[in-house]
C-alpha cells in the first residue's frame, strides 16, 4: 500500500490513525465518566488543550532543527509569576506587566539560544540549567506564596484570558469563516498536487472533512456552554502563524533543513546559527503567552504552575509525528498530539485518578511515543 501512496499521503494516514486513537480515548472516558462529554467539561478541555498546544507549537519550532527546550514549564511559571507580582505588589497595569514578562522571556530564551549556538553545548544541558534557574527565580519572585492574578478578583487583561468567552453567535460566524478558508486552502493544495502527479481524491477529501467536522463540532458544543473560550482563539492565531511560518517561509525551510542535515544546510548557505537563535526567541514568546494563560487559568501564581508542561509539550510533538532527531513534524500533527495529551490529562482528573497513577500514565505515553518515533523513522 505504501508504494501506491505518495509520501504526503502516508503522513495524512498517520494523522487519521491519531484521530482514531483520540476517538478511542474519548469513548473510553465518556463511558467511564459520562460528564466527560458535557458541554462544560468540553469547554474546560478546550482551554487546557489550547494552553498545551501553544507551548507544544513552540516546542515544535525547536524540535524541527533538532533542539529541545526543557525549561519551558519553568518559564511558564516564571512569566506568570512576574506578571502577577507586578500587578499585585507594584500596582502595574496588567498589559504593561505582561509586556515586561514577555520581554524577560524573549531575553532569557534568546540568551539560551545564543549560548547553545555559539558555544555548541547540547540544548538539553543548557535548557535543563534553564529549568532549574527559572524555577528558582520564579519561587524567589513570588516568595513561595500564592499571588492572585487581579486585586480582589476585578477583571483585568490577565484575568480575562481564561474567563472571557466569545458568545455563541459570533463563534458560529468565525467557525464558518475558518472552515471556508480551510476548504479554499485544501482546494489549492489539491490542485497543486494534481499538477505534480496522481492524488488519492478520497484521502484529500477526508483530510478536509475531518478537521472541518472537528471545528464545527467544537463550536456547536461550546455554543451550548458560554461560547468559544479566549484561549482557543489565541491558539487559532498561534497555530495559523506557526503553520504558515513552517510551510511558506524561508525560516521554516531553514528549520527543516537544519534538522535534516545541519552540515549540508550550512554549506548550502542557510544561516544555521541565526535561525536557531530566532527559534529560541520565538519559543520565549510562546512560553510567555502560555504562562499568562496558565496562571490566569489557575487564578493565581503558585509554585506549581507550569510544572512538567515541557514534557507534555515534547510528548505532544512526538505523538503528532515530529522526530526528536529533527527534520520531521508539522503544526497539524502537534495539534492532534496535544489533543491526545489534553484528553488524557483531563479524562484522568475527571475520573479522579490518583496523581501517582497520572504520572505513570504520562510517562508511559511519552516513552511509547518515542518508541513509535523510532519505529516510524526506521520504516521510512
Amino acid at each position: 500500500m505504501t508504494s501506491r501512496l505518495a509520501f504526503q499521503d502516508r503522513t495524512s494516514l498517520a494523522m487519521l490513525a491519531l484521530l482514531a486513537v483520540l476517538l478511542l480515548l474519548g469513548t473510553v472516558f465518556s463511558i467511564a465518566a459520562p460528564q466527560f462529554l458535557s458541554a462544560r467539561n468540553l469547554s474546560m478541555l478546550l482551554i487546557e488543550f489550547s494552553m498545551t498546544s501553544v507551548l507544544a507549537l513552540g516546542m515544535l519550532l525547536l524540535i524541527l532543527p533538532g533542539h529541545i527546550d526543557l525549561s519551558a514549564g519553568s518559564g511558564v511559571g516564571l512569566t506568570g509569576g512576574i506578571t502577577a507580582v507586578l500587578i499585585m505588589h507594584h500596582q502595574v497595569p496588567a498589559p504593561l506587566a505582561m509586556l515586561v514578562a514577555l520581554a524577560v522571556a524573549l531575553l532569557v530564551w534568546r540568551g539560551m539560544g545564543h549560548i547553545i549556538v555559539s558555544q555548541s553545548i547540547p540544548a538539553f544541558i543548557i535548557t535543563l540549567g534553564g529549568l532549574l534557574t527559572c524555577k528558582g527565580v520564579f519561587w524567589l519572585i513570588i516568595q513561595n506564596t500564592t499571588v492572585p492574578v487581579s486585586p480582589g478578583g476585578a477583571p483585568n487583561l490577565l484575568a480575562i484570558l481564561t474567563t472571557y468567552y466569545l458568545p455563541p453567535r459570533p463563534s458560529y460566524v468565525l467557525a464558518g469563516l475558518t472552515i471556508l478558508v480551510l476548504a479554499l486552502l485544501r482546494w489549492r493544495s489539491y490542485q497543486q498536487q494534481k499538477l505534480r502527479g496522481p492524488v488519492d481524491k478520497e484521502l484529500q477529501l477526508l483530510s478536509f472533512l475531518v478537521p472541518a467536522q472537528v471545528i464545527a463540532l467544537v463550536v456547536l458544543c461550546c455554543g451550548q456552554f458560554r461560547g468559544l473560550p479566549l484561549p482557543s482563539l489565541i491558539l487559532l492565531v498561534v497555530a495559523l502563524f506557526v503553520h504558515v511560518l513552517l510551510t511558506h517561509t524561508r525560516f521554516g525551510r531553514a528549520l527543516y533543513a537544519i534538522g535534516s542535515n545541519e552540515e549540508a544546510a550550512f554549506l548550502s548557505g542557510i544561516p544555521v546559527g541565526k535561525t536557531v537563535v530566532a527559534a529560541y526567541t520565538l519559543m520565549g514568546a510562546l512560553v510567555a503567552v502560555t504562562g499568562f494563560m496558565q496562571t490566569a487559568y489557575a487564578g493565581a501564581s503558585t509554585t506549581t504552575v507550569g510544572d512538567l508542561m515541557e514534557l507534555d509539550a515534547v510528548a505532544a510533538c512526538v505523538i503528532g509525528g515530529a522526530s526528536l532527531r529533527g527534520g520531521r513534524g508539522s503544526a497539524l500533527g502537534v495539534l492532534l498530539g496535544s489533543l491526545v495529551m489534553a484528553c488524557l490529562l483531563s479524562g484522568m482528573s475527571l475520573l479522579a485518578v490518583p496523581p501517582e497513577a497520572r504520572f505513570i500514565a504520562r510517562g508511559v505515553v511519552l516513552a511509547l511515543s518515542a518508541w513509535l518515533d523510532v519505529r516510524l523513522s526506521k520504516l521510512s
Binding site: 505518495a6 509520501f7 504526503q8 497543486q192 499538477l195 505534480r196 502527479g197 504558515v244 511558506h248 517561509t249 524561508r250 525560516f251 525551510r253 531553514a254 527543516y256 533543513a257 535534516s260 542535515n261 552540515e263 549540508a264 544546510a265 550550512f266 554549506l267 548550502s268 548557505g269 542557510i270 544561516p271 527534520g327 520531521r328 521510512s380
Partner: protein, 540 residues
C-alpha cells in the same frame, strides 16, 4: 574456528593470502574487476594505485569487512578457502587490518585500549578487572615491540600524537597471534620521526615472520620497505613485481596508464585574458583552528572567466579544505586574501555571504554534505536560493516561481525522478549528484567550486555532468574542479594546480599536464614539506 597448522615446507612455498579473479560491485559501480593478489610468508607487500583504484575494497575483502559471498572469485587464506563472515573471523585466523580511521577510545589509557574487551580479571566469577596485571602485561607487550620509550601505558589516548595512536593500534592488532598485518596508508598523517619509528617496527615484525600488506602513496617509503609491489588500476592488478626489479617511474606509469576516452566534451582552451580574473587567491596560509599547525601554506592562483581550473592532489593534500575555506566554511586564515572580481572577499565569511556574492560549492560526499536525504528533490533544489524566492511585499515564499524554476532546472539537468516531490534518498547516485549541481546553479553563481563531482556516479551520468561543466565554462563562469580521477581532470581542465604536503607543487597548462607529470609532482617529497609536520610535533 582454529587456524590450520602450517608445516615449514608449506609455509615456504604457499602464499599466506591469495585472491584469484576477485570481483566486487557496489550497485552499478565496479570496485574490483577481477583482481589477483598473493601475499608470501614474511614479505612486505606494497599496494599502490590512484584513489578509487580499488585498494580499500581489496583490503576490506582480506579483512572480512566484505564477507564471503558478497564478492565473486576465490579467497584463500593459509592455503584453504577463507569463509569469513565478519571481521572477527579474520581476526581469529590471524589477519589484522589497520584502517586509516583509527578506532581507539580517546578517553581510556594506552593499557586500557590494548586490552579493550579482553581485560584480565580476578575475583569471584571474574567480576573485577585486574588492573595490576593489565598494566604489567601492557608494559611487557610494549617492551616486546621495543616501544617502551615511545608510549606510556597510563597515558590517555587523547593526549597522544597521531603517530603514537597508530602504534597503539598496531600493537593492539598484533596482541593475539596475528600472522598477517594489513595497513591502509599508515604514514599519511605522520611526521618524519614518527615514520622512522613505524617503519622500524614493521621491519621488526617482518623478522618475526609476520606478512605485511602496506598501502601507501609515498613511493620513496614503498621502495625503502617493500619486497614486492602490486599496482591496482580500475579494479585490476596491472603490475606485480619484486621491488628491486622495478622503479618509481614504472610504478607511476602503471598507476595512470589509462587512455582518455570519448567521455570528455571537446572544449576550446580558454586563453588567459588580460581582464581582471574572476577569482584571485593570494598567498593563502590556512590552519584548522587557532591552535593547529598550518594545513595549507602560501597557496596562490587565479581563475578567469570561462576557465576550468583543476586541482589535483592525493588523499589528504588539503584540496577539500581549500574549497571549503573559499566558501567560508572551514579553517582559520593565517595569511593572504581572496578577491572575487576586483573586490576582496571579506573574512570571516559565511557560506550564506559567499553564495550571495556568487561563489558556490558542490561539496564532496553528497549524502553527508550535500543533500537533505529525506527531503524532496524540490526542497533540495531550492535550498541555496531561497532568498530569490521571497516576495517583496510579504515574507512568504513564491511557490509558483519555485515550482517553475525547479521544473526547468530538473529538465535541463535531466534529473530522473518520479517528480519534484520524491525524496532524494530514492534517486540513483548520478541523479542525486545532479540535484546537488542544480541547487548550486539556481544560485546563479559566477564561480562554481566542484569537489569530486562524479564520485559514485555511473558512466552515463558522469558524461552528462562533464557536459554541464563544459557548458558552465562556455557561459563565462569560472569553475574549480577538484578530482582524484586524473583522466577527468585532464579531460576538462584548462590548467591544473597540484597540491601536496600542504603546498602548491606546480601549476600546469593543459599541454604540460601529463598524467605522469602530475602524479610525480603530487608524490614528490620536497624537504620543506616533509619537515613541516615535525614542526607541529615540537609545537605540541
Amino acid at each position: 574456528m582454529s587456524a590450520p597448522a602450517l608445516t615449514p615446507n608449506a609455509a615456504a612455498t604457499a602464499p599466506v593470502l591469495q585472491l584469484r579473479g576477485v570481483r566486487k560491485r557496489f550497485g552499478g559501480i565496479v570496485a574490483l574487476a577481477g583482481v589477483d593478489f598473493s601475499l608470501q610468508p614474511g614479505e612486505i607487500h606494497a599496494l599502490c594505485g590512484e584513489n578509487g583504484a580499488g585498494k580499500s575494497t581489496l583490503i576490506k575483502i582480506l579483512g572480512g569487512v566484505h564477507p564471503t559471498g558478497s564478492f565473486d572469485g576465490e579467497y584463500l587464506a593459509f592455503g584453504q578457502p577463507a569463509r569469513l563472515q565478519s571481521v572477527r573471523d579474520a581476526t581469529q585466523l590471524g589477519i589484522a587490518v589497520i584502517y586509516q580511521e583509527l578506532v581507539l577510545c580517546e578517553g581510556l589509557t594506552v593499557a586500557q585500549n590494548l586490552f579493550l574487551g579482553r581485560e584480565p580479571t580476578h575475583g569471584p566469577l571474574g567480576l573485577f578487572v585486574d588492573h595490576a596485571r593489565m598494566r604489567s602485561e601492557a608494559r611487557e607487550l610494549l617492551g616486546r615491540f621495543g616501544l617502551q620509550n615511545e608510549l606510556d601505558i597510563d597515558q590517555p589516548i587523547s593526549t597522544l600524537g597521531v603517530g603514537q595512536k597508530q602504534l597503539v593500534e598496531i600493537v593492539r592488532a598484533l596482541h593475539q597471534q596475528s600472522r598477517v598485518l594489513i595497513l591502509d596508508e599508515p604514514t599519511a598523517a605522520l611526521s618524519t620521526r614518527e615514520i622512522t619509528t613505524l617503519l622500524a617496527l614493521l621491519r621488526g615484525l617482518q623478522a618475526r615472520g609476520v606478512a605485511l600488506v602496506y598501502i601507501s602513496h609515498k613511493l620513496d617509503e614503498v621502495f625503502a620497505l617493500a619486497d614486492r609491489i602490486t599496482v591496482l588500476r580500475d579494479g585490476r592488478s596491472v603490475m606485480s613485481a619484486p621491488a628491486h626489479e622495478t622503479d618509481a617511474a614504472s610504478v607511476i606509469r602503471h598507476m595512470v596508464g589509462r587512455t582518455l576516452t570519448e567521455l570528455y566534451p571537446a572544449r576550446p582552451l580558454t586563453q588567459a585574458s588580460t581582464e581582471t580574473p574572476l577569482l584571485q587567491v593570494q598567498s593563502l596560509s590556512l590552519a584548522a583552528d587557532k591552535k593547529s599547525p598550518l594545513r595549507l601554506r602560501d597557496i596562490s592562483f587565479q581563475l578567469h572567466a570561462g576557465e576550468v581550473l583543476g586541482i589535483f592532489g592525493l588523499m589528504g593534500a588539503g584540496r577539500s579544505e581549500l574549497l571549503l575555506h573559499l566558501l567560508g566554511a572551514w579553517g582559520e586564515r593565517r595569511q593572504g586574501q581572496v578577491l572575487l572580481g576586483a573586490q576582496p572577499l571579506p573574512w570571516p565569511l559565511t557560506p550564506q555571504e559567499a553564495i550571495r556574492r556568487g561563489l558556490v560549492l558542490v561539496s564532496e560526499e553528497r549524502r553527508r554534505y550535500g543533500l537533505l536525504m529525506d527531503s524532496s528533490v524540490g526542497e533540495n533544489l531550492s535550498l541555496s536560493s531561497l532568498s530569490s524566492l521571497t516576495r517583496p511585499w510579504l515574507p512568504l515564499l513564491n511557490e509558483e516561481l519555485e515550482q517553475a524554476r525547479n521544473t526547468a532546472i530538473s529538465h535541463k539537468l535531466r534529473i530522473k525522478a518520479s517528480g519534484l516531490q520524491q525524496p532524494v534518498r530514492g534517486l540513483s547516485g548520478g541523479n542525486q549528484q545532479k540535484v546537488v549541481l542544480g541547487k548550486a546553479l539556481l544560485c546563479q553563481p559566477q564561480v562554481v567550486l566542484l569537489d569530486e563531482p562524479t564520485r559514485g556516479v555511473d558512466v552515463g551520468a558522469k558524461r552528462e555532468i562533464y557536459e554541464h561543466i563544459s557548458q558552465l565554462s562556455a557561459a563565462g563562469l569560472g569553475v574549480i574542479l577538484v578530482s582524484s580521477e586524473l583522466p577527468e581532470l585532464l579531460g576538462l581542465s584548462d590548467r591544473v594546480l597540484v597540491l601536496g604536503g600542504g603546498q602548491a607543487r606546480g601549476l600546469f597548462t593543459r599541454e604540460q599536464a601529463q598524467p605522469e607529470v602530475l602524479l610525480a609532482a603530487a608524490l614528490s617529497q620536497k624537504p620543506a614539506a616533509a619537515g613541516a609536520p615535525t614542526v607541529t610535533q615540537e609545537v605540541r
